[in-house]
Amino acid sequence: MRTLPRLDADNRAFWTGGKDNELRLLRCKDCARFIHPPRPVCRYCLSENVAPEAVAGTGVIDTFTVNYQKWHPAMEVPFVIARVAIDGAPGVILTTNIVGCAVDAVDIGDRVRVTFEQQDDVYLPLFEKIA
């Protein structure tokens, strides 16, 4: 079981987009840049004209770690934690897990695609390697 985010007006689009199989990031309608974490103002131009928008859902592994420590007794290890730079949204990096491959098959620069894992009302964007 994963620790889940508390949904609110700012983050709901991000955490529930997976219901429609969409990775949704907040985008400024005035300067066109993406804002993450989502906030009601653009950090680049201070516009409040911001709205969620679906991106392709692919990206590149910026860096990663293979976690071996059980931070709580029920945790299954090892697993990969990675930072993924999201295609089409320059500057946005998501901390996530790389799933569907051996932990030693992951490297910086690998191309990955989102896959959602549902838990209650939250759709967690995990990523798997593009073959």
Partner: protein, 387 residues
């Protein structure tokens, strides 16, 4: 000496241990007493208190003693106090804030303290319950759902980038842990005083690659105090005052993943903008090492070597040894002396600059030291000098 300068005068430390039973407020009082004795000051002369991060009710062991409690317990009449983390983020930001306060005439002698009680709290959950939240918000929501639950995982990702991009090796990284442990064995108050070999390091279990068990500090119970005094008040003090020659701190994005680099990089560069000293003037460095890799980043950030060269800079360990050209974490760092959480680095810089290091004292009459705290989006650097 003019009021435009701030000095660290008295310093103190409680006993350092794991699962201590002494009350955390009393550990703090122990450290205060030692600092007052050294400085020849009385409580009546203290008019300011500063701490990091302030009492943290949801995680009491992390920070069990609030500034308001200490002021009340000691009968301090404070004209200035700082009860929570403010600007100049990270642990030694409490010292930066105190220095600004004395330079502005808001106080003359400020007790800065950091009390940690994480090992005791874990052992006594009835007294120190961990409040479990059903759901997370704020920064945690971007890491916790992916089981990236520890700063070890976040730091490890920056370290992995150094491994892949700049060729950082485990043998190089080991030099931080080995140097720390060798120095800790000469420090009577260090938490861990058994020897550590390269073989033991290389065969240790992984926590989060490339960080192994010996790359991570461990829960500690202790209190550390630094008294910051105004330049026009140091004639009231009986110990050698150590001048805060420069200070810097920065946060651009308060995030462990949106920032490309840890905040130490801009902070390290900024430090030298506030002084005529240069890295070549520095006699010893006391660099935050909650995780060994942070030492590599601070060495690069402060300009002791180029970005990406930190691993090669400490290769073999001779350069950063007690008798090397740039002695590192001479008290044992957090990996050896215990997780004093930032304050240990400034405490030790003062010890060395006063020549009071005993068996671990570095040679050559040191006059200039750097101490730092923080990792990820938090960073503070202090340049300390004996005039």
């Amino acid at each position: 000496m003019s009021r435009s300068d701030a000095y660290i005068t008295g310093i103190g430390q409680s006993e350092v241990g794991m699962r201590l039973t002494r009350h955390p407020l009393l550990l703090t009082v122990d450290a205060v007493r030692e600092a007052l004795d050294e400085a020849g000051l009385s409580i009546a002369q203290i008019d300011g208190v500063s701490t990091y991060p302030g009492r943290s009710p949801a995680l009491l062991g992390f920070s069990p003693v609030g500034a308001d409690e200490l002021i009340d317990a000691l009968g301090i009449r404070a004209t200035w106090w700082r009860r929570r983390r403010g600007n100049h983020a990270s642990q030694l930001g409490a010292v930066v804030a105190a220095a600004l306060a004395v330079r502005c005439g808001q106080a003359r002698h400020v007790i800065c303290y950091r009390t940690v009680y994480e090992a005791a709290a874990l052992a006594r959950p009835d007294e120190y319950p961990m409040q479990r939240r059903d759901r997370v918000d704020g920064f945690s929501q971007w890491t916790a759902p992916f089981n990236a639950l520890s700063a070890a995982c976040w730091t490890a990702q920056y370290a992995m980038r150094h491994v892949k991009k700049y060729g950082l090796t485990r043998e190089q990284l080991a030099q931080v842990a080995l140097t720390d442990r060798a120095n800790a064995m000469l420090n009577p108050r260090a938490l861990v005083r058994e020897p550590l070999t390269l073989d033991e390091y290389m065969s240790a279990r992984m926590i989060s690659t490339p960080l192994c068990l010996y790359d991570c500090d461990r829960y500690t119970d202790a209190s550390t105090v630094l008294i910051v005094s105004a330049g026009d008040a140091v004639d009231e003090v009986s110990c050698t005052p150590i001048r805060i020659a420069a200070m810097a701190g920065s946060v651009e994005r308060h995030s462990w993943d949106q920032a490309e680099w840890m905040a130490c990089y801009p902070t390290g560069a900024d430090l030298w903008k506030h002084t005529d000293y240069t890295p070549s003037d520095v006699d010893t460095v006391q660099l935050y090492d909650g995780f060994s890799f942070q030492v590599i980043t601070w060495l690069e950030a402060l300009g002791f070597c180029e970005l990406g060269e930190g691993g090669r800079f400490i290769e073999g360990g001779e350069r950063i040894a007690l008798d090397g050209e740039l002695p590192l974490n001479t008290f044992g760092g957090q990996l050896g002396a215990g997780r004093l959480h930032g304050f240990g680095f400034a405490h030790e810089a003062v010890v060395q600059l006063r020549g009071k290091g005993g068996a671990r004292q570095i040679a050559g009459d040191p006059r200039v030291a750097v101490s730092t705290s923080g990792g990820g989006p938090l960073a503070t650097a202090l340049l300390l000098a004996r005039d």
